[in-house]
């Protein structure tokens, strides 16, 4: 039996190596997406079985005899021992957001290979390790948060930096995901109608759940889902109606203002009315669509149309500027390693873990599944013809504002494209145009629509599936926007409460309105900046988001390294130090280039300089130019602040590590005392 197990794992590892070799060495011919699926699956299995098991057994020494906080502090609310597969699903639903979908789609401009390798290797050696170690550390510390652990393990500076970083990430994240929605809905009456319809549907669900059938969340979500599907069907009629279509055909700025107003209202409304019902619905839709996409890819097994590498690895990409190193590695954050996950791993999840060994599938395994979602997004983007992919994702400022100019420009890059193809595709999905639909969501929806249509329903349903995919993306992005605005408001009120007590009261209306307005104003400013950006806001905002998210991952890895160092000395610190060194290298390189690169498309200061020259030459509107100059400098400052933050926590961590290794600092492990577990897993 043991021999057969060895043979099985050797076969899995060999299959993974063959598939990785196949996708890495294939040139000049289209490869089937199943190679990517197999390469990822085999690598994940090998990493899970060997690397994660090594960490679980040797490094963490997970002990099921030790009672977890869920058992010791059981209260029926937060702390509750739960079946490991339920915690797995719960944790996965919490970490899966738009990041692993959008990032790979944007990074596909380099070709499928760099992003795919980073997603697979980054997750196995970095992202999953981070989530696993932080979850373990939190479980051993009564379910404490990352900020609390940073304060205890590193020092007060670490805790403060973690808080500041979360605030900055929130602002940038909300702006960039709102921009994704704006670009997906711009000039699309079908999409705008469908998303607008989700608001009254969510309000109905909120009232249904509170007054008609209290507690029947699944039933209410099923009704909501049927209504949303109905709104997608109705959207086609709206788009084809000469009377209704203009009412739902909005420009980018109108959409941006509408989303800002919505964010303000939603953060001030009671959560049960709009936010919570839509959050329930979006969670179920999200899990369902991920499953559908996996089945669709396995069923259709589409050929990848994008090459392994494109010419844009040299940094001249139209979607975002910058070379494959470091920009591929900050563009794809959530699919490979995401700092945000450490907040979930030290949030609800550790309070539900029944046995320490469950942290292995939950912490490490969930991240592998998230990584697999990113692989699917990469496949969905790469099944598009390269010309179509670049036509959809390139801003007008790069390829030209007219279809003819854009088609000529993209064809000149070696990706043949004609206007008629794009017009036919737009008609097929019920859109007026698919040119310059930047942000990643429309091209992902196109790829998903083709996979779904080939799985069943045929080409007649491409339009429906396209808008289904747009609805799916927009639904949980809007949930992130109002939840994020609310959280930002709480954080701000918490800080302001130290200045004047009433400002800290979340029930005091002037404080609520003022703090909401401030938070909405902060992300709204970056959103409007993105809409106005001549190179498309994704070029400036997505790298900022990637850098800040990876910075949070660096903080989490600093905490994780400190924990391992205190447990074992320097013996196992390489487990978290290796991804940390890589992340710091990537983050510093990217941030430095975004500030100081002399190429205006990359460097914010060079961009400001270019705008200044245009202002001086009088070739552009002076007021617009002044705003653009200010925005470019503001982005440089934000990037600089992020650099300083990461440098500060690194120095602080190094100080602690050096002290421990030299023996001048106490290496006290601040774990909760051992309590023998009385819990039988069969009870769960």
């Amino acid at each position: 039996m043991r021999f057969l197990a060895h043979v099985f794992w050797v076969a899995v590892a060999a299959a993974g190596a063959v598939c990785l070799g196949g996708i890495a060495l294939s040139r000049g011919e289209h490869i089937n997406s199943i190679w990517l699926v197999l390469a990822a699956a085999c690598t994940y299995l090998t990493g899970y079985r060997f690397y994660a098991k090594f960490i679980a057994a040797r490094v963490m020494a997970l002990n099921d005899q030790r009672a977890t906080p869920a058992e010791r502090m059981r209260n029926g609310h937060d702390f509750e021992p739960t079946n490991k597969w339920i915690v797995f699903g719960h944790h996965f639903a919490a970490i899966a957001g738009p990041g692993p979908l959008v990032g790979p789609v944007l990074a596909a401009q380099f070709g499928y290979l760099p992003g795919t390798l980073w997603i697979i290797i980054g997750a196995v050696l970095g992202g999953a390790v981070q989530d696993f170690v932080i979850l373990f550390a939190s479980v051993r510390r009564d379910g404490k948060s990352l900020g609390q652990m940073a304060r205890e393990e590193i020092g007060k500076v670490g805790g403060l930096i973690a808080l500041l970083t979360v605030l900055i990430i929130m602002v940038i994240l909300l702006a960039v995901v709102a921009l994704v929605v704006v670009n997906a809905l711009r000039g699309s009456p079908w999409g705008t109608f469908t998303i607008a319809a989700t608001m009254p549907i969510a309000l109905f669900m909120g009232l249904y759940l509170r007054y008609l059938r209290p507690g029947k969340v699944l039933e209410c979500s099923a009704i909501g889902f049927v209504l949303v599907m109905g709104s997608i069907f109705a959207g086609r009629s709206v788009a084809e109606s000469s009377g209704l279509a203009p009412a739902f055909t909005w420009g980018a700025m109108t959409l941006a203002i509408a989303i800002i107003a919505y964010g303000f209202l939603a953060s001030a409304l009671p959560v049960w009315l709009l936010l919570a019902p839509r959050d329930y619905l979006s969670t179920f839709v999200k899990l369902g669509v991920v499953l559908m996409l996996a089945v669709g890819i396995l069923f259709v097994r589409p050929q990848l149309q994008l090459p392994a590498f494109t010419r844009f690895v040299d940094g001249t990409g139209p979607i975002f500027a910058g070379k494959v190193f470091p920009f591929c590695f900050i563009t794809i954050a959530c699919g490979a390693i995401s700092g945000f996950h450490s907040l979930i791993s030290s949030g609800t999840t550790p309070k539900m873990i029944a046995k320490e060994s469950h942290a292995w599938p939950v912490g490490y395994g969930s991240m592998l599944l998230e990584s697999f979602v990113a692989i699917m997004a990469m496949i969905a983007a790469c099944v598009l013809e390269p010309g179509v992919y670049f036509a959809v994702n390139s801003p007008a400022g790069i390829v030209g504002a007219t279809p003819t100019a854009a088609a000529a420009k993209i064809s000149s890059w070696g990706f043949p494209l004609d206007v008629a193809t794009m017009a036919g595709l737009a008609k097929q999905v019920g859109e007026q145009t698919l040119f310059n639909r930047t942000g990643g969501a429309p091209s992902l929806a196109l790829g998903m629509a083709h996979i779904f249509a080939r799985s069943g329903g045929g080409q007649a349903l491409v339009g429906f599936w396209y808008h289904f995919a747009i609805m799916f993306e927009a639904l949980f992005i809007l949930t992130i926007i109002d939840a994020g605005t609310r959280v930002g408001r709480f954080m701000l009120q918490d800080l302001l409460g130290h200045v004047w007590a009433p400002l800290g009261r979340t029930s005091w209306m002037p404080g609520v309105i003022g703090a909401s307005a401030f938070v909405v104003g902060a992300w709204g400013y970056f959103l409007v900046q993105g809409v106005r950006d001549p190179l498309g806001g994704i070029n400036s905002l997505w790298p900022l988001f990637g850098i800040s998210n990876q910075l949070l991952a660096a903080i989490a890895l600093c905490v994780a390294t400190t924990v391992l160092l205190k447990m074992h000395g320097s013996k196992y610190m390489w487990i978290t130090c290796a991804p940390l060194v890589w992340l710091v290298t990537v983050t510093f390189s990217a941030a430095w280039q975004k500030i100081f690169s002399p190429i205006p498309a990359i460097g914010f200061l060079a961009q400001a300089g270019q705008f200044e020259q245009q202002l001086a030459a009088g070739t552009a509107n002076a007021a617009t130019m002044r705003v653009l100059i200010f925005n470019a400098r503001l982005d440089a400052v934000v990037c600089g602040v992020l650099l300083v933050l990461v440098a500060a926590i690194l120095v602080d961590s190094l100080r602690v590590w050096t002290g421990i290794l030299r023996g001048t600092r106490e290496a006290r492990v601040s774990e909760a005392p051992f309590v023998l577990s009385q819990l039988q897993t069969e009870e769960l």
Binding site: N75, G76, H77, D78, E80, T82, N83, W85, I86, G89, H90, A93, A94, I95, A96, G97, P98, G99, V166, I169, M170, L173, V177, L209, R210, Y211, P214, G215, V217, L218, S221, V271, W272, L275, A276, Y280, T283, F284, A333, C334, S338, F340, H341, L343, I344, G347, T348, T479, I480, A483, G484, R486, V487, F490, F545, N549
Partner: protein, 55 residues
């Protein structure tokens, strides 16, 4: 197969807070009512939306 379906339903109920509501009723020895659900829901949602949602 039955076990998988059971776990799947339990997961859906967990995500929908229905399991948490049952635990709440059991812990406090109360019976289901509209008022009780509203009390539970407000407390649970307040805690949930005080934390950032993942990207």
């Amino acid at each position: 197969m039955r076990r998988v379906a059971k776990i799947l339903m339990a997961l859906l109920r967990e995500l929908a807070d229905e399991n948490a509501y049952r635990r709440h009723l059991a812990v406090h020895g109360r019976v289901h009512s509209g008022e009780e659900w509203r009390r539970f829901s407000e407390e649970r949602l307040r805690a949930r939306y005080a934390r950032a949602k993942c990207c």
